[in-house]
């Protein structure tokens, strides 16, 4: 199978800005992209009721997560174009970042030379960013995602998905265990990411069976939304604006690092390494069968989320639907061949599924692992988590 290297650009923006982003992308000639609805969280400062109520209230706002692919030479230009076009340098409008991916089953050419090189210094500079993805039972994401806000790191985005794992090996009894998941997406400075991950593990009690799964992945470059509080401003510039300027002056976010100490201790045996994150993108309805095939080949499970794919009319491959599913499967590096073989065998690249695979690195992952636990094996183990291979 022919592999291609590309950069996946991910923009997470407020819903009111979608049409402006789409028209900017259309001007640049980007016609193939996928959109997933998300909600973003922020803290709202409420100064009422004699302080009897919580001072910071969590507010949810609708947003959209948009993905598109560019060639390696276009990474910076694309990020810069999006960030300037949507004024993402102003905190509170959204984030944009890039990830290096290996593409399998991607028939078309990766777009080159779409984005004009803009004048002046590029606005997207932060390197050393790390992405955090956390899969939890439906209804629990707000509490865990709030950690990123309380730590003052960045604005988290949450999307919906459906988990597959041990649950799907129970036969029809699976209907008795809810499979709906919430997926938290956070991009944070690499200096804070591990602390954040540990705090999220503690808040979400991910060291218990069936609670969830979290992993870190590298981000190439990006601009992260840092507007974590809303409310009346009492200064000429908000703290977020000052941070944004300092980031720009320093050219990096390393100056923000606050502590070397690990705030939360997590048993290191539980971290899993040498991982790859496979995103199997296929027509809606094909995902479950493909994941089952991957599970038979040794994958522990997957989270399936929906994505609406938009194409340039002429370039639409035959059989490819607008309703797509993204099945995220984390596997050990040495199992990649086997899982890909199983996926191909079960028709991933055929017309019905019209699938493709994005392969990305994952830095480290964590979930409850009965092999490493002194607790007795519980039936719930891994029902909702993406059990590791």
């Amino acid at each position: 199978m022919n592999r291609k290297r590309a950069f996946l650009i991910t923009c997470i923006i407020r819903k009111g800005l979608t049409s402006s982003l789409l028209s900017h992308l259309a001007n640049a000639g980007v016609k193939d992209y996928g959109i997933t609805p998300v909600r973003t969280l922020a803290l709202h400062e409420s100064r009422r009721a004699l302080g009897l109520f919580q001072r910071f209230r969590l507010v949810e706002e609708p947003g959209e997560m948009l993905h598109f692919l560019v060639g390696p030479d276009q990474e910076e230009a694309a990020l810069d174009y999006v960030a300037r076009g949507c004024e993402l340098t102003v905190p509170g409008r959204g984030s944009v970042y890039s990830q290096e991916v290996d593409l399998l089953g991607w028939e078309k050419d990766i777009p080159h030379a779409l984005f004009p090189v803009l004048e002046g210094n590029p606005v997207v500079k932060h390197s050393s960013l790390v992405g955090i993805c956390c899969v939890l039972q439906r209804g629990q994401a707000n509490e865990v995602a709030r950690v990123a806000l309380d730590m003052g790191l960045s604005v988290p985005a949450i999307s919906f998905g459906h988990g597959m794992g041990i649950r799907d090996r129970l036969g029809l009894l699976r209907v008795a265990i809810p499979g709906q998941k919430e997926i938290i997406h956070i991009a944070a400075s690499g200096y804070d990411a591990e602390t954040l991950m540990r705090m999220m593990i503690r808040t979400g009690q991910l060291d218990r069976p069936g609670k969830g799964f979290i992993y870190l992945y590298p981000i190439g470059k990006g601009l992260v939304d840092t507007k974590i509080t809303h409310g009346a401003a009492r200064h000429v510039a908000s703290v977020e604006q000052i941070i944004a300027v300092l980031d720009e002056l320093k050219g990096d976010v390393g100056w923000r690092r606050r502590s070397h100490r690990e705030l939360v201790k997590v048993d290191p045996r539980h971290f899993l390494g040498d991982l790859l994150d496979l995103s199997v993108v296929c027509n809606e309805g094909s995902g479950k069968d493909l994941v089952k095939a991957a599970m038979r080949a040794g994958a522990g499970g997957a989270t399936i989320s929906r994505m609406k794919q938009f194409f340039e009319h002429a370039s639409r491959p035959k059989g490819m639907s607008s309703a797509r599913e993204v099945c995220d499967i984390c596997v050990n590096k040495n199992m990649l061949g086997e899982v890909l073989g199983a996926l191909e065998e079960s028709g991933l690249f055929q017309e019905e599924a019209s699938g493709e695979v994005w392969i990305r690195k994952a830095l480290k992952a964590y979930t409850y692992n009965p092999d490493h636990s002194s607790r007795p094996m519980n039936l719930d183990a891994g029902f909702s988590s993406r059990g590791m291979a």
Binding site: P91, R93, D289, S321
Partner: protein
């Protein structure tokens, strides 16, 4: 941990582990439904026992019914989520991609028409129409009693056309707003015109109520899921169509359908007249078109007319009436034509409705007829098995044809396989079981409770007789009768009755006195509970009752819960199901309160509908497309199997006591309420979001 290459088969787990998983699952699902019905049940029980101060009859069977409702709802909702909604969504996903436009539209149309026939909520309106007085509202009587099948077709075609138009909307990315502006303006215009026309005015309430009840608990989730599926494959970026809006059209077009149908039938209907004119022989030719034939007219007169009405019908000539009844005895064929195919129809009329004189005439003519039938007068109470049988039939009728049609489209038209077939089939089965249990529960539990409260409700503002608590006073002597005078010097007769340790003064009703037999039948009277007769305090109590009942009943509506789930899913939790359901419930409560005021105070429906819809149009103008779709859809889903029987019980109870022409319009008001509340909540949410976005734009 799994080693590479190792195959994973189904997990082997023990029976106790299986039971533990199932037990947890059942506990969660039942607890959810318990929460949703808790308010309405406890409210009705408390209102009946504390406010109205009356005991609850058949408490045991009501309690069992409530349990059946909760378990049934748990099954049904799970069946919707597992089976019916995924099925609708798969078809929505595949249909536009694999079929030409004509097939998509045909499927949509058939689905819409079929849904109306599968879930005959209109039957409920027909029942409500039994109290319509043909002399006051002849056109309404004509539509409901002579041409109910036209009514069902009018509504069905309206719904079919709506689903078709809804699909076209998605495929072309049209906004819902222009449809709403045009339709609502036309409808208000038509209703306004109908309001001024004495013949048409009575049907406007019915037509708006028809719009409200068309979409049942199977149709709504199915149509929603279908729309959501279609919207996932069509449309362009930035457009906000996400699958809602069809239910809106399906609530508006049937109103058009029924109004047009009524216009068409208006020529056949006589003008409204007085009761005397109706029963009198002079207008016989004019009123005959209201009935199928003369036999149906006679049956109506015999069953609904008072003694003097019947006398008027037979030219004030007792002999003529007697001759007619006597002639009936020997003419079995005519009996069948008058009283229907039910062989006991005649004897039931004889034993329940006929006057003693009429009974004597018939007895005289054929003494043995009554003797042979007296022992066999069928009991009104149906047996338990009959109840189960009837509800199984209703549930299968609601689920199987629709699901069967969709499976036919998927397997034979689209030639697709059914993904996750085991799960979907299990879901459909659960929906069926749930619906049977739910319907049985409604019949024995909630409807009975609602009827008890509904019948007694007017006691809060006026005095109401309680015939089931009547006491026969033996040895009644006329000497015991006393006289009281009022401030105008008018005399009123009364007597003292010693009951337990108390001596009560009872106003004398001469009709209840049987001097020959020395008996007096005392029928206790209740009310007014608050204030004086027809005082504002009592009316306020009724209005408040309607508000809380509407709110509580709506929380339990399965179709609304399905809509809430879909909205939460589409908005990734930014518009929570809980928020939507409570906003809608509040709207229904407010709408019902207004609807009850319409009935109690006799306000014309148009004067309530017009300002509400004008306000709704104004809010629609300011709201986002997504919110408009959700809010107007909420209007269509609110009035379902929990709310409608309760509203009818209340409406009939009130309508019977306050002498109104027709009790329609409560449901119509309960539909416009949620539009207003949901749009208002949506605007409030949008405002906070806009403020925070504006903070970031320079």
């Amino acid at each position: 941990m799994q080693k590479p290459g190792q195959k994973k088969e189904n997990l082997k787990i023990t029976l106790s582990q299986r039971l533990e998983i199932l037990g947890n699952y059942a506990k969660i699902k039942v607890a959810e439904q318990l929460k949703s019905v808790a308010l309405i049940i406890s409210y009705l029980v408390l209102f009946q026992s504390l406010v109205l101060g009356m005991e609850i009859l058949d408490a045991g069977s009501i309690a069992l019914g409530v349990v059946a409702i909760i378990v049934g709802l748990a099954f049904f909702m799970e069946g919707l989520v597992l089976g019916i909604m995924p099925l609708g969504e798969i078809i929505g996903l595949r249909l536009p991609e694999k079929s030409p436009l004509m097939v998509v539209l045909l499927v949509a149309f058939v689905l819409g028409v079929g849904a109306t026939f599968a879930e005959p909520a209109i039957g409920i309106l027909k029942n409500a129409g039994m109290g319509v007085k043909p002399w006051e509202a002849p056109l309404l009587f004509l539509v409901l009693n002579k041409y109910p099948q036209y009514l069902v077709w009018g509504v069905g075609l309206g719904v079919g056309f709506s689903v078709l138009l809804g699909m076209l909307r998605y495929l072309h990315g049209w906004s819902l707003k222009p449809f709403i502006y045009v339709l609502v303006t036309c409808l208000l215009g038509l209703t306004g015109w109908a309001y001024l026309d004495p013949t048409m005015s009575s049907v406007s309430g019915l037509s708006w109520d028809c719009g409200a009840v068309t979409t049942g608990p199977v149709t709504v989730p199915l149509i929603l899921a279908l729309g959501i599926g279609v919207c996932r494959v069509v449309g362009r970026g930035g457009l906000e169509n996400s699958g809602f809006g069809v239910v809106t059209l399906a609530s508006l077009f049937p109103v058009v359908g029924v109004l047009v149908l009524s216009l068409g039938l208006a020529g056949l209907s006589p003008k409204p007249m007085s009761r005397e004119e109706f029963y009198g022989p002079a207008n016989r030719a004019e009123i005959l078109p209201l009935f199928k034939d003369e036999e149906h007219l006679i049956r109506y007169v015999l069953e609904n007319g008072s003694e003097s009405d019947q006398l008027a019908f037979w030219n004030q000539n007792k002999e003529e009436m007697a001759a007619f009844l006597k002639s009936l005895v020997s003419d079995q064929d005519r009996i069948r034509r008058i009283f229907g195919e039910d062989p006991a129809g005649f004897s039931r009329w004889l034993s329940r409705k006929a006057t003693s004189q009429q009974r004597d005439w018939v007895l005289e003519a054929r003494a043995e007829l009554l003797a042979s039938t007296q022992g066999q007068i069928p009991e009104a109470m149906s047996s338990f098995w009959e109840l189960v049988h009837r509800n199984i039939l209703i549930s299968f009728q609601a689920v199987i044809p629709l699901v069967g049609f969709l499976l036919f489209v998927l397997l034979l038209v689209l030639r697709e396989r059914l993904p996750q077939a085991d799960e979907i089939l299990l879901g459909i089965l659960m929906a069926l079981v749930g619906m049977v249990l739910f319907n049985i529960g409604m019949d024995t539990g909630l409807t009975s409770l609602g009827n008890q409260v509904g019948e007694r409700l007017p006691a809060s503002f006026k005095s109401v007789a309680l015939p089931e608590q009547k006491v026969i006073l033996e040895g009644f002597d006329e000497k015991a009768i006393q006289t009281a005078i009022d401030e105008h010097g008018k005399e009123h007769r009364f007597f003292y009755w010693k009951r337990d340790d108390k001596i009560l003064a009872i106003p004398l009703d001469e009709k209840n006195m049987d001097p020959g037999g020395k008996r007096y039948v005392h029928v206790p009277v209740k009310g007014p509970i608050l204030g004086k007769e027809k005082g504002w305090e009592g009316i306020l109590l009724v209005v408040l009752f309607a508000l809380v009942m509407g709110y509580g009943a709506t929380l339990a509506e399965p179709a609304l819960n399905a809509l809430g789930l879909a909205v939460e899913e589409i908005t990734v939790g930014t518009f929570r199901k809980r928020m939507l359901v409570h906003a809608v419930a509040l709207g229904v409560g407010l709408g019902m309160a207004l609807g009850v005021m319409k009935i109690v105070l006799g306000i014309p429906l148009f004067l309530l509908l017009a300002p509400s819809y004008v306000l709704a149009l104004g809010l629609t103008r300011c709201s986002s497309e997504e919110m408009v779709n959700i809010a107007w859809d909420s209007a269509g889903v609110t009035t379902g199997p929990v709310t409608v029987p309760l509203v009818l019980a209340m409406g009939l109870g009130l309508g019977g006591q306050v002498e109104v022409v027709e009790g329609f319009g409560i449901l119509a008001m309960a539909s416009v309420g949620p539009i207003l509340t949901v749009l208002a909540v949506g605007l409030a949410v949008a405002r906070t979001q806009r403020v925070s976005l504006e903070e970031t734009s320079e």
